[in-house]
């Protein structure tokens, strides 16, 4: 009886510990965020570092995002043909393709790809700087690491992701077009006309809003985990893992929240 009681006690203790540390880390994240806001208002903005990061996150991710988008568009065309041909609704394929790409697939897939690519790189770079005392050195050289390292990256993420998604939208639609015209014998002009007439501003816009939020999540999580890396190479590795996992999960979660917001609109 006492054994049971004590093990139950130990279990609740563990549970409380987990819950406690969960709220602690939420608190730390909020604190980190508030620091970012505070320093971006009150202190210097490093434009050249922002531009460098913009190229790194945005421009250098173009091939990955392009490839993902084109194959997604192609697959989408094929799969919807399989379904729609069963009730002779093939003419709706351009509509389905453009809607799914702009509202959903381009932002989410670009987000996940960039999280793996740039989010991990950010966490690794900042994590290495942390464990090799480079961030400490910055502090003693009158340079605020938030302004120098973190804020330019976050802004680069917020701005570059929507631009990537615009490119992804176009390439994705082109993927669908290629399949429909070359494989499924659609009329090219009609396909494009259909797409153009069907798509609405809100479709593209909601996708871009998502992209911006994802860009924030990716860079923020990369910076946060890198900045809190501990130990040596192992700690840096762990911070990259955390960064990719947490930003991917948050992307999927926020995707649902933003979708339901625009759904009600």
């Amino acid at each position: 009886m006492t054994r049971l009681l004590s093990s139950a006690l130990a279990l609740t203790k563990r549970l409380f510990k987990i819950i406690f540390s969960f709220f602690c880390s939420i608190g730390e994240i909020v604190d980190f965020f508030l620091n970012c806001v505070k320093y971006s208002i009150t202190e210097k903005f490093y434009v050249n570092i922002f531009l460098k990061q913009f190229l790194k996150i945005g421009f250098n991710s173009l091939p990955v995002v392009g490839l993902t988008s084109i194959f997604t568009g192609m697959v989408l065309a094929l799969q919807s043909y399989t379904g729609f041909s069963r009730f002779s609704a093939e003419s709706a394929i351009p509509n389905v393709v453009v809607l799914s790409i702009t509202r959903e697939l381009a932002p989410v897939l670009a987000g996940l790809m960039v999280a793996g690519r740039s989010g991990a790189a950010i966490a690794a770079e900042i994590g290495t700087m942390k464990v090799t005392e480079q961030i400490d050195a910055l502090k003693t050289l009158s340079t605020n690491p938030f302004n120098y390292l973190i804020i330019p990256r976050i802004f680069a993420g917020i701005i570059s992701l929507p631009l990537l998604v615009i490119v992804g939208d176009i390439i994705g639609v082109m993927g669908g077009y290629l399949i429909c015209v070359n494989l499924l014998n659609f009329n090219p002009t009609v396909y494009l006309q259909n797409t153009y007439n069907f798509v609405q501003f809100i479709d593209v816009f909601s996708g871009l809003v998502k992209a911006s939020v994802f860009g924030f999540l990716i860079t923020f999580m990369g910076c946060y985990h890198g900045f809190n890396a501990k130990g040596g190479a192992q700690g840096v590795g762990q911070s990259t893992t955390y960064s990719v996992v947490s930003s991917s999960i948050l992307i999927l979660l926020m995707n649902y929240i933003i979708t339901s917001f625009f759904f009600r609109l």
Partner: protein, 237 residues
């Protein structure tokens, strides 16, 4: 007349169960050169990190001039406080995404670094190189140049000569001596190199078991009766 610059009072610092600094007291005097010696892992680097404000101590106080307890400074004041120090980190801590010139620019906006590079015994050609292209000893000298260029109130050097050949080590020792004796910069040097101690230390503090076990004038170090320090200097276990 010696004037106190930094007063470390009853500093306590631990990591989980491991006590590193255990109510340590130490005074650092203006325009003097203090060497901190002690076994590897005794807490020398931790102590200097506490002094410059990079690490918060658990208990006690560190005062600097009219600042009473640097643990209580807010972010802005902390930045201001840290800018008084020129620091050579144990592993140099150069920014590895920037070349040497850009690294030095953090300390001084000047365009030409010929003089300082000459002083630390490096050729000008390294300015365009990246830290990863330099040897550890060269990185150390760039780190030293970066610390000196700031013209800091207090210079903190964590093992400035470790990993250098005897000739360069001697040159560095003389350079530091020059800075301390001529320019009267307050200097705290963590070192294992007794050459450095004999060359430019005015006072020596021996750190062991979380406290300063021996403190005294550098020239009297060999006459000390503290056996653990004598053994440390002589390299006896």
């Amino acid at each position: 007349m010696r004037k106190k610059k930094i007063i470390v009072k009853n500093i306590y610092k631990s990591f989980k169960d491991k006590v590193v600094l255990n109510k340590l007291n130490l005074d650092v005097y203006k325009s003097e050169s203090l060497s901190i010696i002690g076994e590897s892992g005794s807490g020398k680097s931790i102590l200097t990190r506490c002094i410059v404000g990079l690490l918060k101590y658990d208990n006690g106080s560190i005062s600097f001039g009219n600042l009473n307890n640097i643990n209580t400074l807010n972010d802005k004041e902390k930045m201001n406080y840290m800018s008084k120090f020129g620091i050579l980190f144990q592993n140099s801590a150069l920014l590895d995404s920037l070349n040497i010139k850009e690294n030095l620019k953090f300390s001084s906006k000047q365009d030409s670094f010929n003089k300082i590079l000459n002083e630390v015994g490096l050729p000008n050609s390294i300015l365009e190189k990246y830290p990863s292209e330099l040897s550890v000893g060269m990185q150390k000298r760039v780190g030293l140049a970066r610390a000196i260029l700031k013209k800091p109130e207090v210079l903190i050097l964590d093992e400035p000569t470790t990993g250098l050949d005897p000739i360069i080590a001697r040159q560095i020792n003389l350079l530091i001596k020059n800075l301390v004796k001529k320019n009267k910069i307050t200097t705290i040097t963590v070192t294992h190199d007794m050459e450095s101690v004999y060359e430019f230390a005015d006072y020596v503090a021996f750190l062991k078991n979380g406290i300063i076990e021996w403190y005294g004038e550098a020239r009297k170090i060999n006459k000390s009766r503290n056996s653990s320090m004598i053994n440390f200097i002589k390299g006896i276990d």
